[in-house]
Amino acid sequence: MSAYYRNNKYEEYPDDPGYSGPRNHVQGYLKTQGHPESPGPLHNSDYSQTRSNPYSADSGSADYPGSVARPGYPGSWSDPDYPGTRSNPYSADSRSADYPGSPAEPDYPGSRSNPDYRGTRSSLYSAGSRRRADHPGSPAEPDYPRPWSNPYHPGSSREPDDSEPRRNPDFAGSRSSGHYGGARAHPDYLGSLEEPDYPGAQGSSNHPSPRHTSNRPGSKRNPEYAASRINPHTDFLSEPDYPGAENQPNSSNFLGEPDYPSAEVYQHSPNFWGEPDYPNAEDGRDYGSSKTPKMTREVLSRTSSIQPSFHHGRDGPLGILVRENEDDSESIEMKSMEMENPYGYSVPGAPATGYVNPAYVGEGSSGPAYGNPPFGSDWHKSPQGQKLITSLISMTSRDRIKAIRSQPRAMEEKRNLRKIVDKEKSKQSRHILEFNCCSQCLNSISLAHRRSKNSLSELLNSISLWQKTLKVIGGKFGTSVLSYFNFLMWLLKFNIFSFIVTFGFIIIPQLTVATRNTLQFTGLEFLTGAGYFSDTVMYYGFYTNSTIQHGEGAASYNMPLAYLFTIGGCLVVCFFSLLFSMARYFRNNFINPQVYTRGIAKLIFCWDFTVTHEKAVKLKQKNLSTEIRENLSEICQEKVKLTLNQHLTRFAVHLAAWVVSTGVAVACCVAVYYLAGNNIEFLASHRDPGAVLLLPFVVSCINLAVPRFYSAFRLVERYEMPRHEVAVLLVRNIFLKISIIGILCYYWLNIVALAGEKCWETLIGQEIHRLLLMDFVFSLADSFLGEFLRRIIGTKFITSLGLPEFDIARNVLELIYAQTLVWIGTFFCPLLPFIQMITLFIMFYVKNISLRMNFQPPSKVWRASQMMTCFIFLLFFPSFTGVLCTLAITIWRLKPSADCGPFRGLPVFIESIYSWIDTLSHSTSYLWVVWIYRNLIGSVHFFFILTLIVLIITYLYWQITEGRKVMIRLLHEQIINEGKDKMFLIEKLTKLQDAEKRANASSLTLERDAEETGPLHTRGHDTAHTPDLRFRRSVQEENPKA
């Protein structure tokens, strides 16, 4: 997917100046591709260009559109059987893709950070210098290129090869290094030089010894010859056709073994590879071993760079990509850019303005592998750095900071980057607005704005509550339990906001005109909410319906309107913040449409770094190992199929559990309904003020007992996955709680409100207040007694039970339940958010203490984030929407009580708005409000059109999502395909290694004949670990491009 993003990014910056380079490459390449047989010059020009800058060499050439340039390739590539044909037309490409690698070698010294590469680096140097030493030394050098460039003379090419080595040992060396290039370039070429077919070539198997004697001294002491490697390159460049011509006659040999023609060819290559290693190894250095890997790596990396084009041609997943981009050439370019990533790791960073930052990909995959990343302090001078800088300059300052922050680099580099960008920016702006003094002004304003924002965020941060406590909880119990406390804090913030709003807009104005309260205060009122409190600002009934005006001419304050607008505004803000946080959670946590697998990988890689407590860490490690074991056994048992009988029993058990749980919930609802209905008579007969607590007590008991009953079902149901168990439990609990609240609402709105009580709104407010407080008392008792007792039992009496685990789901549901009550109640009791605020505050400490005393960290890995999403969704869907419905019915349908509250005397609550609009329509200055109301809010047509538009947009988005799903699937398939290609290559490579070993063994014997002593054991050592090193390295290399 990241690749896809990247493409998009490139699309956005089509005319970034930095792009021209790669594009040129592509074009040049495309030309080449058009004439696969065309000889060298074109390549040469390309190469010189590449070589001029080591960095661009890295990027421009490594991505070397070699891949792009091969439209015909794919078909043949996907067919593993095809023999030598593949290499012939394209040998030029493959070889050229190779070269940039070598000019890039001088960069290696820069890679100080990676000790692995030291060996490589020095060896590459020596490799280069060796070649160089060879070439000038050999008088035959000028001749050398010519034979190669001649496409049709296998014989003649053989001639100088064989005769000269004999004459000049030095040249033999150079020739063998030439073979390297060839070998790297492509296998069939090697095949052409295959020794058995050429009498002269036999000589080459002999020449290592002279070579290493004569050649050694010069080679190592010439560190500065890297550049001279150009010579061999041009040699090879000019002979693109040669292998083809040369090879055809020989290929019959290989056709006998059609599967791995090149592997077959490589069987002989080890000779060449082995030779140069030899002298070096003898020198006590490990050059050889690292050089060889380099070569195979190049072979592989080149071939792997072919893959993208293969997909292109095949019109597979990428074909679709192409279509999406609507421009073939552009997509090719993007492709090439993408392949460039691995090399110039800041290139992708440049366009990656913000969210997806492919720079990681780039650097991560190639940087260390190539030893490039330590561009050190001057990496930004590279083209990639420049590109990044230019793209940063074009951003807004906020995005720029964001982008800089998200760079996976060390601080020093980020700081440099920032400095450079700032400098460039100021230079640019000075350039543009040179004569504009406003620029200065604007700059300083933006700076001041930034500073003030910083200090504001600091201020907000400093008042964040309980930072330390949260850290401790996280340290001891991990993120999962922490999420409960985060949720609690989130709700607390909600309530603080609601309280501030209601306090500011309803309560303070009301207090200014408050009448004296004559009721007696006993203390029980705290719990019942009745008595003294019923005549305070706490309840609806206390508020005036008049317009508050202090003194003549002062601004007037219409209480009914304020009441309605404040509550409405609160709910709207809650609605949007819920919606947005829900959307954010969904985006973060359900981003991947794939089915969630068993997720052992997630167990491994999602170690909770917040856990810092020593005991907790140990416990967590223990739990993790248990869980991994369980997971493994689950996986092992997966194949065990249940019999039909077992299926039926299980189904029956589940059905029964659902029937029982639903039945219990319904029974509870019925009980609550009848209890509430009879409550009025009951209250009439019992004059005790505490009697009103009966209903809340029963409801709280239900809320306490039934969820525990539900959790006992797990003993019978036996869900395979703990996740299912949690989900089922959640559904049942939320069903219970919401239906109880629903039945209560029904009772309030349909019975209490219509019963003709004196001030039914206040009664409802009191009822909600009691429910809330009773719930709070129950949770307190539960925390202090229930959980405490449970711990005592668990630790003292039945030790097998052990410490309980904190039940996050149940606790969160309790919070949701309470919050629902608060939202409903805010209309009837504006101080309810305040009460809830206090209870939440206390709950935080109580739960914190209880947690630390009575609980142990959860043993299961709990999907905290996903559960959080689920909780917020639950808070939104049944809870908040239910509240909205209830309040809507109240405001639009019900008749407010006749002689209390701000709406007294009105037929319905909403009537106050209607009359307000009527008054406004008389005054000319507010006509726009009236207009908005009549045409937008009050108009059916407007809403009809709005709904239509929203529906259309939703449908379009839905379609886009569907398209993306297909896209993701295809991209996934593509990844798998590339993996297959890679496996194919690796397989090939292993075969090759075996072949090499065999060949080495044979050449070893040959050499034993030649010279008896010394080098032999070093050589043996060399071959022993060469293959595996090479294998590893090569495998590394291929990936960045894939």
């Binding site: 990241s2 990681y360 060390a410 991947n592 697998t597 997630k602 491994i604 907790a616 996934h972």
Partner: protein, 187 residues
Amino acid sequence: MGNKQTVFTHEQLEAYQDCTFFTRKEIMRLFYRYQDLAPQLVPLDYTNCPDVKVPYELIGSMPELKDNPFRQRIAQVFSDDGDGHMTLDNFLDMFSVMSEMAPRDLKAYYAFKIYDFNNDDYICMWDLEQTVTKLTRGELSAEEVTLVCEKVLDEADGDHDGRLSLEDFQNMILRAPDFLSTFHIRI
């Protein structure tokens, strides 16, 4: 905090603010945390950018890292030379990446580096075994560890090359929403 101005220049602080996910106050707090680790080593004046490194032994003894099974890897990944000795810049970098605000990709990139024990840019079988051993404190038997590693590769290796590349890792992390909240060290 009164001596804030003497520790860093204004520009330095601003640069830190732009390069990390911290506010000025948090940067100062982190600086004092850093300074507390080695009071005799770290000067209280950073205006001339002294080249000071706190050795790994001290970094690893921070309460935030002390019991973390990956503390050594974390320190190595964020240090300049991979030896775990940290300059103030490294220190800030580390906590910036581990902070709540850091984006998923940045976190994933560094998490990948942390799990890549042999620094070969792939999480191979060996790396996985190291990880599992560290995670389970050697409680699993060798076969179990191998089995787990195979399963992990099976699950996460998108291109079936027998090891996890950064892309594989990122892709897997996308499917593990908890990663964002768990790859987080509070300071």
